[in-house]
């Protein structure tokens, strides 16, 4: 009915909130533009970093978050990486020239 009304009287076809979408997309875009790192590149970086971290600790892959955020006068890479527990691993030999501290 409303559609019919709008059709006759030339009202807006979609009652929009598209400006909110525009604003959100823009904020995101401008931060990424500033550091010249696209969201897709951030994703790749995230995957690489997590790969390294996973060598040492077990992490909750789904719960991790990586994003660029605008701080007062800089842009920060903010990440949250939930750690489950330390992975059991064989004790690595101490680097050459370093005497292990007595137990």
């Amino acid at each position: 009915m409303r559609d019919l009304f709008n059709r006759f009287f030339g009202g807006p076809k979609t009652v929009g909130k598209s400006k909110e979408e525009a604003k959100q997309r823009l904020k995101f875009l401008l931060i990424h533009d500033q550091v010249d790192l696209t969201p897709a590149q951030l994703d790749t970086m995230k995957a690489e970093i997590l790969e390294v971290i996973a060598k040492y600790v077990e992490i909750d892959q789904d719960g991790t978050e990586f994003k660029l955020e605008k701080e007062e006068d800089c842009i920060a890479l903010v990440s949250s990486i939930p750690v489950r527990r330390v992975v059991e691993r064989p004790a690595s030999p101490p680097p050459a020239g370093v005497t292990p501290a007595p137990a």
């Binding site: 076809k13 598209s18 979408e21 997309r25 995101f28 533009d33 696209t38 969201p39 897709a40």
Partner: protein, 272 residues
């Protein structure tokens, strides 16, 4: 047989990027494979109009400099089979690319796509020369304004100097009401001045703004009048040159229609 079409205007802000995005969508909707190429290096925009900005990893300059393969640089539009975007670099400038490199890139794209649409930057310098380098033909976008038409005329000359065939014209931001009241040049006026064939007319419409906000080109919207204008142009371009242009008759509302029935208002002037 595939074809590379450059969308150009001379004057900035007349609707080249909007046109490229929507014709890309319209051609892909007809079942063609299409690559849209953002040649506006340093001022990347086609990605946001298409809503694909979050998926960029590589760009045109990466591809040209051999830092990635062409396939890695192309972003497939998941909403529409057959449509892919090659984004511009955002942090380089127009001199990062030469016409020869563009020619080579376009030749490679043409092996994979039916249509390669190149979104040309404003101006007549290096960016324009790069954008036209690999093109088989040009579409000129203008608005019904003196400055835009003057620049279009200049660009038509440059397109001919580049030994491309006679370009086709899209008149954008057409306002039937202003034409009717005599405050805007109509199609005939513009064609008389520019003397090139008309490919299409696109109304000035707020749907364009909403679609840009959302990153969803208006050609996706079946109910939009502007979307229909682009779909028709896409068909005329894609092998059905006789598809009629959208009838942009002034939609002057119920009251004038009633008055017209009663003989109190002048008959409609069709914006032909």
């Amino acid at each position: 047989m595939s074809e590379c079409i450059v969308i150009t205007s001379g004057k900035g802000g007349v609707g080249k990027t909007t046109t490229t995005a929507n014709l890309g969508v319209a051609l892909a909707q007809q079942g063609h494979t299409v690559a849209v190429v953002d040649a506006d290096i340093g001022l990347r925009n086609l990605d946001v109009i298409l809503g694909l900005e979050n998926r960029i990893v590589y760009d045109l300059v990466h591809v040209i400099e051999g830092e990635c393969r062409l396939k890695q640089g192309l972003i497939k539009d998941k909403r529409l089979d057959g449509l892919s975007l090659l984004p511009a670099a955002q942090t380089r400038d127009k001199n990062a690319v030469t016409p020869d490199q563009m020619r080579k890139l376009v030749a490679e794209l043409k092996e994979h796509f039916d249509y390669v649409l190149v979104d040309c930057p404003a101006g007549i310098e290096q960016g324009f020369k790069n954008a036209v380098a690999g093109a088989d033909k040009a579409i000129i976008v203008t608005t019904p304004e003196v400055s835009a038409i003057r620049d279009a005329d200049r660009i038509i000359g440059m397109v001919e100097a580049a030994e491309l065939p006679e370009p086709q014209l899209i008149i954008n931001r057409f306002r039937a009401k202003m034409v009717q009241s005599g405050d805007m040049m109509n199609k005939e006026d513009i064609l008389e001045i520019l003397a090139i064939p008309l490919l299409g007319v696109v109304p000035d419409h707020e749907d364009i703004i909403v679609s840009a906000n959302r990153g969803v080109p208006v050609a996706f919207d079946d109910e939009s009048l502007v979307g229909e204008a682009y779909r028709r142009i896409g068909r005329r371009l894609g092998g059905e040159p006789d598809v009629p242009l959208l009838d942009l008759t002034v939609d002057d509302g119920l009251w004038t229609t009633i008055k017209r029935w009663m003989g109190l208002a002048p008959a409609r002037e069709v914006a032909r």
